[in-house]
Structures are given as C-alpha cells and as structure tokens.
Symmetry: C2
Subunit: 163 residues, 2 copies
C-alpha cells in the first residue's frame, strides 16, 4: 500500500477515494458486514475532501442527488461506518471524516487547520504511549481517546489565500 497524500497539498484525490472504498469493501466482506449502497455513498461523500463534513452536509448532498433521505438515514450510515472504523467523528467540529488507517488498530490524532479546514489523521506511538501512561498513573483504565489539535497547516502558515 502506498503512503497517504497530505490533505493540504494538491494531490490526486480520486486515488484517496478509490483506496478508501476498496479498503471499506475488503473490511466489510471480511467482517461479514453489509456495505449497502446508502452506506457506500455516504462514505464516498465523507471522502469527497479531507475537510470533515457535518451530518447535515452529507444529508444535503444525498438529497441533491435525489436520494430520499432524512437525518436518521445519514446518522445510521455514519454509525455503521464508525463501527467498522471507516470514518471518525471529530467531536470539536461535530463532523465526520474518512479514516485513513481503516482496519489497523490505532488511536487517531487529528491535525485540523482552522484556515483551510482540512484534517490530517496521524498515528503516533509516543503520543499514545504518553497518554496511556498518564492515565495509568491515575489508575484510570483507558477505553477511548479523543485527540484533536487545531492550528495552522503548513500551507496556510505561509499563504494568504486560504482555499
């Protein structure tokens, strides 16, 4: 598998989408989960860019395509996708983004640019370890970690025009 493109640099984004869809199909098949058309379409929509997308944004896109959708349609699809590790919810944005480490056990860390809105998902062992240890020092049993960093991505640090 090739390295992931950086969200805030120009790249062939179709490759991102295709890879994500291919991985999703493989994962669902392997786990005997049904990647139905609606679920697949929602996953595609979330992957339309590296900017986390609100549930109602997804809904609007579905609607504009003629899909007869309501909020539960979207939230159910997103729940399913989250369950199988195909998308992440960004709590600080109330939005969803495609998982770039699908299938791999990981603690997502997100770098979210406040200027261009793109989010980069990282996995960093020293971060996870430090968090796990800090929690352990308080005898706390860690189950889930929400780690979202906001700031400026390399592109937006130098450019004036934010995409």
């Amino acid at each position: 598998m090739s390295a992931r493109a950086l969200p805030y640099r120009p790249h062939n984004h179709d490759a991102c989408v295709n890879q994500a869809l291919a991985e999703a199909k493989a994962i669902c098949q392997q786990q005997n989960a049904r990647l139905t058309p609606t679920r697949e379409r929602v996953l595609e929509l979330v992957w339309q860019s590296h900017k986390p997308l609100g549930a109602y944004d997804v809904l609007a896109k579905l609607t504009s395509e003629g899909h007869n959708a309501a909020p539960p349609t979207v939230y159910r699809a997103l729940d399913f996708l989250q369950q199988y590790g195909l998308v992440h919810r960004i709590a600080s944005l109330n939005a969803f983004t495609g998982c770039t480490h699908a299938g791999k056990h990981h603690t997502g860390m997100f770098l979210i640019c406040r200027a261009c809105g793109n989010a980069l998902e990282l996995t960093d062992t020293s971060v996870s370890t430090a968090i796990y240890n800090a929690a352990g020092a308080e005898a706390f049993c860690t189950e889930t970690v929400t780690l979202e960093v906001t700031g400026l991505c390399p592109s937006c640090q130098t450019e004036q025009h934010h995409e």
Copy 2:
C-alpha cells in the same frame, strides 16, 4: 496551595468550590475582568460536582433558583469563564467543567469515567510534548489541543454500584 482532591474519591467538595471561587476572583481582579453575580453563580454551578455539566443543565438550575435566564445567559457566562481559563468545554460530552489549573498555562487532558461521569483534569508534560512534537513533525502549528480520554476510573473498576 494544597493538592487537588480526586473527583471520584470522597472528599470535602466545598473546599473545591471555595478554592475555585477564590482563584476566579483573584484572576478576574488581576486581569481587570468583571466576575458578575451571574458569571460567579454559573461558575459555582459548574463546580457543584466533578461531572461536566451541560449548558442546559446550568440553565435549569438557574431557572429553578428564580433567575430569569435564557440560553444566551448561560452561554455568555460560560464563554466568559472559558476565556479566562476558569472552565473547560468537554467536546465529547457537550458539557463544561471547572478548571482545576486556573491561571496556569496548561494543556488540559481529561480522564472521563463512563460509569460515574466524573472528570479529572491532568497536566502531563510528556503528553503535551509528544503531541506538540508529532504535530511539528508535520510542520503543523499547534494552537489548541482537545484531549479527552474515556474509560473507567479506579473506583468504578472495582465497584458495582456506580455513584
């Protein structure tokens, strides 16, 4: 200044509240900010326990005290308190909690027990450093960090009855 009590252990909680209020007054005085009665009352309410409180919970308490409050009343007070580092917003819960490190420059890390609902705020240099470095390795300029760990606190790991 004495060490902080652990949220999920029995402790003299009035001391927590009193300390928080005293610190808040000192900080506001020092920064020439006005800790008005409404703001102070909201801070007290948020400090009524170590369980992060929703804005509408605060609103309900204010209302039950006869205060003529509406959502903006609460959100404005919370915004003010956040601005001066007196409360934190817990994004994964849509709730607010009193800051136990008010006045000190810090990156909050929260250990949130899914059983009892209490939250413990930590500051851990190795965690902050690891995060900052991981972001820096991507040439990302960190501004804010949201770090919320969910799991089981020591008490709830052993006890059946969750407070």
